[in-house]
Each structure stands twice: as C-alpha cells, then as structure tokens.
C-alpha cells in the first residue's frame, strides 16, 4: 500500500475568493505548503480524485487526506496548526457567533455579488439595493470593532476579506462601498495591513479587468 505523501498542498485558482480564504488562513498560521494552480477548464486528476463530490477548488491536501469547502478548510487549519494566532475564539458562544457571520457571508455575499457581476443593466439597480442591504448588515455587525473578531483577526474577517478586492468593480457598477458603508471600507483598508491578506488578495484593478473581459464575452454578447 502506498504511503500517503506528507505535507500540505492547496489546489486552487488564482481568482477564487474561496481559495484566498485558505491562503490567508495558511499564512496566518505560518504553514508551509505547496500551491497548485488548477486549470478549471481542464481539471487535474488530483483535483477530481480529491474532491469527487463537487470537483471544485479549493482543496487542502494534508498528509494525503483531502479537505474541501473553504470555511471547513479554514476551521481545519485552525484546529490542526497551532501557530501564534487563533482563527476562532475558544469560547463556544463567540465561536458560534463567528460561524454565524461567516455563514452569512457565504449565503449572501457571493451569491448576490456574482449576480451583480453577471447582470444586464436593467437588473443592476435592484441588485445594487439588495447588495447594499447585505453590506449594511455586515457593517452593523462590525460596528466600531477593529476586526469582526473584535481585537483578533478571525474567521469572519477571513471569510469576507477576499470580497474587498471586488469593491473597485462594484464602484464601476454604481455601488460605492466607501459611500454606503464607510466602516466596512475602512475595515477593508485595515486588513490589507496584515501580510497574510496583502499577499493573498489581488489588485482590485486586476479583478476589474477580468470582470470587463468576462462581461464582454458572456453578458454583452
């Protein structure tokens, strides 16, 4: 029987906000790992074997065992790699609170955000309103805190961080996060001061360029 390969590998795609969550978590914990960029139009055998159910990135492979779904991966990283920081607090209520808001980001932000990206101009106004509502809810939760985790950068910050690169593109679609949710925008700038976030996120202009390209191909065609 083959011995499972030791070490940590991340199967990912450069632009994926879900993959970025894992990169941030691994960086926060100072875990050494091998990054493997997947071609989503031609998925590798390794990806298909490691995530046979969804066939999606990100997948974390640790000592030969694969873990899928970004927030599940982040919690796994927190539990397995002690590091200097904790991604989740130790108190059960605080943990459930963090999970609730990370789940909120999953349920609401990606769905509505990507609808915005794909929508025709007629639908934009309504979607903008809906998205602003979602962002304002998050902003209320953030309040005056430095991070969603209060003083500690944690699960919810990691869950939402990748979407801050999309803010510039939202502006182009008529939604100014800075104007509508100034505290959230300030938090977005603050988290970029963390090395784990700065090196995992892409330039907002790069996201915007890709958005324009995809829009030309699929929406305006």
């Amino acid at each position: 029987m083959a011995v499972p390969e030791k070490g940590v590998k991340l199967l990912d795609f450069w632009m994926s906000p879900f993959g970025q969550r894992c990169r941030i978590a691994l960086a926060e914990k100072e875990v050494e790992y091998e990054y493997k960029e997947e071609d989503l139009s031609k998925k590798s055998d390794l990806l298909l074997k490691s995530n046979p159910v969804h066939k999606k990135i990100p997948v974390l492979i640790h000592d030969g065992k694969s873990i899928c779904e970004s927030l599940i991966i982040v919690e796994y990283i927190d539990e397995v790699f002690p590091g200097k920081t904790n991604i989740l607090p130790s108190d059960p209520y605080a943990r459930s609170h963090a999970r609730f808001w990370a789940d909120f980001v999953d349920k609401k932000v990606y769905d509505c955000g990507s609808k915005l990206f794909k929508s025709k101009s007629e639908a934009l106004e309504e979607l903008n309103k809906e998205f602003i509502c979602i962002l304002k809810t998050l902003e209320t939760e953030l309040g005056e805190k430095k991070y969603f985790g209060d003083d500690a950068f944690g699960l919810v910050d990691i869950a939402f961080a990748p979407f801050t690169s999309w803010f510039y593109t939202f502006e182009a679609l008529g939604l100014s996060v800075e104007k509508e949710c100034p505290k959230l925008a300030a938090w977005g700038n603050r988290i970029m001061e963390r090395e784990s976030v700065a090196k995992s996120l892409h330039e907002p202009t790069k996201i915007y360029d890709l958005f324009c390209e995809l829009r030309k191909k699929f929406v305006d065609a």
Partner: protein, 231 residues
C-alpha cells in the same frame, strides 16, 4: 441545574427537531417555545434572529444562536462532557462530518422538502436532484453502520429528521421520493438507526404528523410555492 436554555422552534420543522434531538442526546434540560411560524414571524423570533428571521434559535443565558448546524456545534462544545459526541474528536473526521452536513443541507434538505409539494416538470427535476444527491450521501456511509461511524453523530441526526419527515409527507401526497429500490443503503441505514437507538423516540408521533400534513396539505403546498418559488 437550570442553565436557562430555551429553544424557539416548531414541532412541525425537521430543522427545529434536529436541535431538540441534539439537546436530548446531551441530556440538557430546556424550555421549548413552539412558535407558529407558518403564516407570520412572532416578535420573539424577530428579536432573537433579526438577520434570518427563522427557527430554530437556541437561547442560552439570554444569548441567541441561530442556524441549526451552528447550534448543534455549540451544543456539542458547551456540553462537551455530556451524552454522545455530536462531532468526532479527530480534526480530519470533524472536517468530513462538517462536509457531509453541509452537503446534505445544501443539496438534499430543500429538494426533499420540496419534492412532495411541487408538480409536473418542476417536481420531476426535484425528484431527479433528490435521487442523485441522496445517492452521493450514500457514498458517505461507505460500509459504516452510521454516518458518524460506530455511533450516531451530527450527520445521522440531520439526515434522520429529514428522511422521517419526507417518508410521512410522501405517503400523504402519494409521491415516491425515498424507497429501497432507489436508495438501498440509505433505507438500510434508516432501519438500522430506528432499530438501534433512541432517535425515533425523539421524533413527533407518526400519526400526529401524518394527520397534520394531510389536513393542511393545500396550505403547505401554497406556502412552499411562495417561499421557494419556481426558480
């Protein structure tokens, strides 16, 4: 010891039942507030879950926790030394339990709930989704007695509640969603789980649920159509 544990739920909801089961398996005493959420959102619910406005909500020492899977993890962590483990100790096995719980909730819960309350092409599509996704869930059993291994765990609890409800609803409306032919492994697991532990005792009585669904089936169908639409 009164730890001020209150559950806002509904005897009619399998999501709410999951949490009741979790609390009972841990031997936690709690006050159950059976809310009528069918036609309206009671003020207590809006107060404790303003974001999603849904049951179940667990209130412990006055602090609310919402979303059934999150509540179950909270219960497991808070009463860690009581009753059974809802999630495994090993981090990889925990990740797998979370993965399958999420898969079930994302891909099976709603189709199962909707399967009895739609018609025509939409129903056929939902039934096809149910079949495919339940077959995938069967893969998670992989020769194990329970989803949790030798003992039941969080995945067993959530799947059991949904399957219990679906089996009754399908009898009321005369639709075949789950059967031995389509899902032999799942049905074997269901029988095993019913025979070997207390989960069935924590479900609402079959006749009571059957009668209720039968009496209100038109209203349930209408509500499902409004809530989940035709997308």
């Amino acid at each position: 010891m009164d730890e001020e544990v209150k559950l806002l739920g509904s005897w009619l909801s399998p999501m709410s039942r999951r949490v009741e089961v979790g609390l009972k398996l841990k031997g936690v005493s709690f006050e159950f507030s059976d809310l009528d959420v069918f036609f309206s959102k009671p003020p207590e619910l809006l107060q404790y879950n303003p974001v999603h406005k849904k049951i179940p909500v667990l209130i412990h020492h006055g602090k609310p926790i919402a979303e059934s899977l999150i509540i179950l993890e909270y219960i497991d962590e808070t009463w860690a030394d009581s009753g059974i483990r809802l999630l495994p100790k090993d981090p990889y096995e925990r990740a797998m339990a979370r993965f399958w719980a999420k898969f079930f909730d994302d891909k099976c819960s709603l189709p199962l709930a909707m399967s009895c309350w739609t018609e025509g092409d939409k129903q056929q599509q939902i039934l096809a989704d149910c079949k495919l996704n339940l077959t995938t869930m069967e893969g998670a059993l992989k020769g194990k007695k329970f989803f949790g291994g030798d003992e039941i765990g969080i995945v067993d609890i959530i799947v059991f509640c949904s399957v219990y409800w679906t089996e009754i609803a399908q009898e009321v409306v005369g639709v075949n969603v789950i059967n031995e032919e389509k899902h032999p492994i799942l049905c074997k697991w269901m029988k095993e789980t019913v025979d070997s532990n207390v989960l069935k005792d924590y479900m609402p009585p079959r006749e009571k649920l059957f009668c209720h669904i039968q009496t209100y089936k038109d209203a349930i169908a209408a509500l499902m159509a409004v809530r989940f639409g035709s997308n």
